[in-house]
Amino acid sequence: MRAAAHVGRAGIATGDVEASSVARDAIRAATLGVAVAAFLLFVGYPLCWLVLGAVGLPAEFSPHSLVRAFTRPENLGALVNTALLAVGVGLLGVVLGVPVAWATARTDLPLRNVFHALVGLAYILPPYLTSVAYIILLGPNAGYLNRAIASMGIHGSPIDIFSAAGVTFVIAMHVYAIPYFLTYGALQSVDPSLEESARMLGARRWTMLRRITLPLVAPAITGGALLAAINSMALFGPQAFLGLPAQIVYLPTRIYGALGGYPPRFADASALSIVLVLVTVIGLSVQRRYLGRRSFVTVGGRGARPARHALGALRWPLALVFLVVVASSSIAPLAVLVAAAFSKVWTEPLTPDNLTLSNFVAALADNQIAARGVVNSFELAIAAATLAVTIGLAIAYLDLRSQLRGRRLLDYLAILPLGLPGTVLAVALLQAFVRFPVPIYGTIWILLIAYVARSMPIAVRGANAAVRQVDVSLEEAARVAGASWLTTIRRILWPIARSNLMLAWLLVFIPALGELSATILLYTNGTETISVAIFRLSDLGQLEVVAALSTVLIVVILLATLLTQWLAAGGQRTTSDATSI
């Protein structure tokens, strides 16, 4: 491993240190090596099978599907729809997420913690459930809003959620949390001395925001917009729930169509996914070029938080505007689902006559798959998040701290799963692991691999952001002082990067708990997840039971989130002394 060759750039060493550095290099090389090997097996190997599948292998070699993927008018239409969706969601995500992030991170906005929690809630809600909720809220004829508008004498269903705009809106209401959290994190890490200097030099608030703060957090904003945009292209749930009824087709829907029938058209699906992968790579290189022009080290090892701006008279009006945005993305869909969960008939108002607990009994006691699903989803999400963040940390570390050739390639590879709808990743995994010597196909392990592979982009980006926060000089100082590699990781990297790593863990854990699109093709009897149970019941039109199960899922996720935050906060206190070795 070449990584091992480059250790301790500050190699001003005595004989003793040199002797121990051999062992230290071995540990480092082995740790990173195992992580990279796991990553290549989980992402690289299935991707190879996807490419082979696109050219018709292993049956026969033929460029037919690949050519068709780029030439058929139906595919072109789907590509245009998908690109418009991505751009729309990216822009809308920034418009919705960044102002709220700035307000909660850097101003004296009231209810900041509430806003922060509600954005988290919006991201927690599985997007297929948000879609169902928005059909109830904004359905053209039966939706609450249109019925209210009609009751005022305006007819013709002015708001139609079954449209391209509806899909963009509902997905943006889910993924704006990504630019929000990344921007929020970056804003909190901004070195206050920079702003203080600007202020002392006489800069006004807006000038400072425009010239100092925004450029400092620009990588987080563009990174967030890009992640939101790419994420939107792969979110099959809303595209299916809201796009398909209106006959609007996106690339994932076309891929799903190619796979759903028999015989499944693996070659067509693989070829279409390669189109998605290409779009992803283009997006990523744009972001890299943009990021390359700036320096992002914003933390110099000091824990000081920047001062909050006083909003003055704008405090409450701004809070109200943000509350509408944030509540529409979280409370509103959640309330609709919870109301349905306690209703005998979800279309009727929640009167005492209509109240019932039987949906929860049906969901948890009568339905074996649902009960098993809760357990499976939990185990899978915890294992996947831990594994993904560990691998992500190794890749980020290699990218930022080593001169290893190919480390950039690892980083590119890690972002690719974002361009793979879960369905396609599942097909890649199926093709890859059906022929694998160890029995993984048809077991719970293939789900774990799918979850880890799917979450690599977020895990690697998150770990990357975390490692970037740590100035390399701190680690070099520790090494000069004789600390081993593991000690340096534990005492320097971990304390500074921990909150970002915890965030990355959560950002993997939460979607994994509700993952549907890959699971649906990979699960088998005994390995059902909560999302499978929800999907199957939803297919059967049992919306009240679906809502009950969704409520349980959301409550569980909320508890897990609070627990993690509590742990993170507790850890912060006990190890804060350790940051100064």
Binding site: L244, T253, G257, G260, P263, Y441
Partner: protein, 369 residues
Amino acid sequence: MKRTMRSHSYRRRTFLGRIGAAMGATSGLARKLAPMYALAAGATTSARAAAATTGADVTKAKSEGNVMLYTSLDTKIVDAIIKPFQEQYGIKVQYYRGGSADVSSKVLAEAAARRIQADIVDASDVGAFLAMKRLGILKPYDSPAAKDVAADLRDPDNMWVADRLTQAVMQWNTKLVGSAPPQHWKDLSDPRFAGKLAFFSSTNGDGGPRLYTLALAFGWELLESYAANKPLRVATPQLVSQLLESGERAAAFCTNDNIAWRSKKLGKPTDYGFPSEGVPTELGAVGLLKDAQHPNAAMLFYDWWMGETGQKLLVDGGKYSSRSDLAPPSGNPPLKNLKLLVLDYAKYQAQRPQLLERLTRIFGGEWGA
């Protein structure tokens, strides 16, 4: 469709005959075997009548302890059928439930990987059973419990037997259509249903066969007039019911009779009708897997599924049984009173890509073409 039906109807006069003709046309071999099959069936009739209600070795089945069912039937019906079976034999029935296309593609994927996990498969998709038979993954079984299924509703080689028939009906919200509910397919072409129609098909075009049947019988213009009303399209008939119950849409074409039946039975504000000019019909079928891990338990359960108890529970759930000795679901007309439009599956399979492309042109959206 009229022309197609006429060309077949000279052979058999009943509606079942037409289905059988469509089946038979799927392979020249089947047609050649048909007379032989008829002879064999005649010879074994008395023996079958005398046999027990199962052809399985019950002791062996019990020692296997488990059976794995893949089904596209509504879970409420599946649960109802399984419960007394488990109580009687102490054999645990595990099941995977998905849409017809999900069930079929899962079995075919497992077969391709040579890791069959299903013991017994049930799906409302005869095309898939023809494919499974062609691949040689089914096990022939001449079940004594299936003797009340007309010979026309089974595979001549006993690889599968029909267990249920699903009719494509019109369904509507009683509050929204008021005193003039639609009676004929063409009624839904009326501009008063603009923005108020619904239908279903998943992205792999599983709604295609019935729409094709309708188009052959009454012309493609009918579908084009539906498309002009901008119908909302969802993935399953259950979701169509949901749209109608909530008042999101006023009426639906080609939804499943049993789902419409249940919605009405549960007291939802919906009703449904079988247009007198003819309703498309789809067969569900059941078969055993050759590489089943619990072969005896699978046979025993197959006999239970097709037996009187199992099929009666199916009817109680709103399905028409394939057994000629069972009554229709409560409140529904007997099949002989309906004009059933039967699809020539072989013809459909052969033209499937072009037909799905035609549906894409008419309705837009994704049809798996």
